[in-house]
Symmetry: C2
Subunit: 390 residues, 2 copies
């Protein structure tokens, strides 16, 4: 046999072609040769887009008080905008608007879907926003797992976070069930919610107990997130679904707990279980925790949709008064309510707190700025988790 190095020299020439040819085949279109977004040391941010034929280019994002800002074109056809002020530490979303058409930033591969909208994202670090970053700390595992639900007659997908060291430790862990809002799915908390990073970082800092986090799909008509079930890629995500807030999801919830306790090393008792959710997930957490008063010791309502269930016949929504009395008689370790001042559900939450006050049911209350947005739900998660399982 000829020396293998020699054998290969001839084909080395072919290899030299690889970046060109393979790029041409693997990646049909090249990356724009501009940096965007560029986060400067002073925390101002520059956005750039190469679009020499465009007449007008704007950026739109949640960091802009006016909603949009105009980019200015240079001689090379690269449009640019720099924020006049530093941005506060936060995870931000943005898109470009080119002659009226919303487009993603071709220089930034990081995008997250929220219901049917996909935006580019970036993080300005510092303060609480550092919790949203992947830092150089031990990382938990994130799994997409299918569980069987006899109540709903289907296999369903969930996201489960096991903390760093789970595989090695042989220990049992407490479990936190974390529920999404209307139009969301089992991916929502681990994507825009940054639950994986928040848990990794709080646990690494010693501020939270190592715990398992279970993120379900709250739309009981569906098996899984868009694109992940046999409905296929032709089914686009939608905000409104038939089997939400009508009792099915709440009724099936013991199927989830049973699956998790069977297949993971859990501390399978009320003392070591928490449930919380945002918006519709807060509604679900409220009803599940009172329906099964021996299941959860910690309850979190994040911007909760306090409102009647869609199906007034469902046993889930019957005798709310009696069920709350039973739940609070059993003295949950924490009943935590959080909402922003401008949330459209503020008044509903105020009414609900009055009701708890009238009955003398203890709860903790966290109020902050802003409304019904992911910024707040990341804050609530990072406030709630350190209070669990102490």
């Amino acid at each position: 046999m000829r020396n293998s190095i020699q054998v290969c020299i001839a084909i080395c020439l072919a290899f030299l072609l690889m970046p060109v040819e393979a790029l041409a085949q693997q990646a049909l279109w090249g990356k724009a040769p501009v940096v965007s977004p560029e986060i400067h040391e002073n925390q101002t941010v520059t956005f750039r887009l190469r679009a020499p034929k465009a007449v007008k280019v704007q950026v739109t994002g949640d960091f802009l008080s006016k909603g949009v800002a105009d980019l200015v074109e240079n001689k090379e056809g690269v449009w640019e905008y720099t924020t006049p002020e530093p941005l506060k530490p936060e995870l931000y979303g943005y898109s470009f608007v080119v002659d009226g058409l919303k487009v993603n930033d071709p220089s930034n591969v990081y995008m997250i879907r929220d219901v049917s909208t996909i935006t580019n994202v970036f993080i300005v670090g510092g303060d609480r926003a550092d919790l949203y970053k992947v830092n150089d700390v031990p990382h938990g595992a994130v799994s997409k797992v299918w569980y069987d639900s006899p109540s709903l007659g289907m296999d369903r997908r969930l996201t489960i976070y096991t903390p760093a060291g789970y595989e090695m430790s042989g220990k049992r862990y407490p479990v936190f069930y974390l529920l999404h809002g209307m139009g969301g799915d089992e991916n929502a908390w681990s994507e825009l919610g940054r639950a994986t990073q928040i848990l990794d970082n709080l646990i690494a800092q010693g501020k939270a107990e190592p715990m398992i986090v279970v993120m379900t799909n709250g739309n009981a008509a569906l098996e899984a997130a868009p694109g992940e079930s046999s409905l296929g890629w032709e089914a686009q995500p939608t905000f409104q679904l038939p089997k939400t807030m009508e009792g099915s999801f709440e009724t099936h919830f013991p199927d989830v707990v049973k699956f998790v306790d069977k297949h993971y090393r859990t501390k399978a008792n009320k003392k070591n279980r928490a449930i919380a959710g945002l918006s519709m997930g807060g509604f679900h957490s409220l009803h599940i925790s009172k329906q099964y008063p021996d299941m959860f010791n910690y309850v979190g309502l994040f911007s909760a949709a306090i409102m009647p269930g869609k199906n007034v016949e469902s046993p889930i929504y019957q005798d709310m008064e009696g069920k709350l009395a039973t739940q609070f008689a059993k003295k949950p370790a924490l009943y935590w309510i959080a909402i922003g001042k401008t949330d459209f559900l503020y008044k509903a939450n105020e009414e609900y707190r009055k009701l708890l006050d009238e009955k003398g049911y203890p709860y903790e209350y966290f109020e902050n700025e802003d409304g019904h947005i992911w910024k707040n739900w990341r804050i609530y998660l990072s406030e709630f988790v350190p209070r669990l399982f102490k």
Copy 2:
């Protein structure tokens, strides 16, 4: 306490506002009110984009022999193109080009990244392409897990597929290590590669043994895929990385096998281990399987980069002749080579097969049309997997 239903009636009005307000806050921009792509029953496909201010709109994708096609505008500013012929069953990628600017289809949330390029995707079903769909069959779990690599001195992320029933069965399973190409990462095979769906479907059809599939990150300089390590979202993906094909990845591979055998219910022996990879991953599979001849019984080279290692000093690339002799003396159950006729690595693979022929080392060979593209790698995966662990 007032009846809870009554309590809530007042806030019901607020709830009625939710779709508007919450959409306005959660999703900054509405979904385009057109359907795109629309896959017709006769397997032609229509693409649509609302862009009333655009001068020229094209679609570009891997189903177009000319690379691009022009859309035609109607009175409402919606541009449209229908393929003149039915498309063959396949997973396709596409983007729009609006006045020279490549943009994603705002009507289709399904996009997949390949190195630094993100394209919309759709599947025309039928034949082998049905393996790429999520079908109504039992589903395996997909986990993103961090393992410790003493050789590389870092924790690293991998993707692991456990077959449907893994949690319940108590059984031990064979393990297939599946490696990506240059510029890819531990997400590549489960995304464009559709490995999860291919495995789920082949196992459900009884054509493949239930197995664990481990998908590593072949760039030994990195801990994880772009955005999933402490390099953060400011690090954009790139094709060329320093620690690829220079020995580090191959040298560290026993760390992976050790982790997997320790933490999963594996059949921890050569008879029940396979390794395969595409392009650079084929190179890695070749060198790992000969370096550790008692580790893998099945070897797959998919469009393998048969070429010299970057670091000729690395012990991995020394004595290729002797190591191959040892490997084949131990009679691997399968040594499988696959490549497309127009692949730029065709000649290199031909040379390598000649070398194996000269030595009388047995292998199976699979040759088909096309070149160095994901279409072929999905075909090779779906051909290779049924040959394993029989």
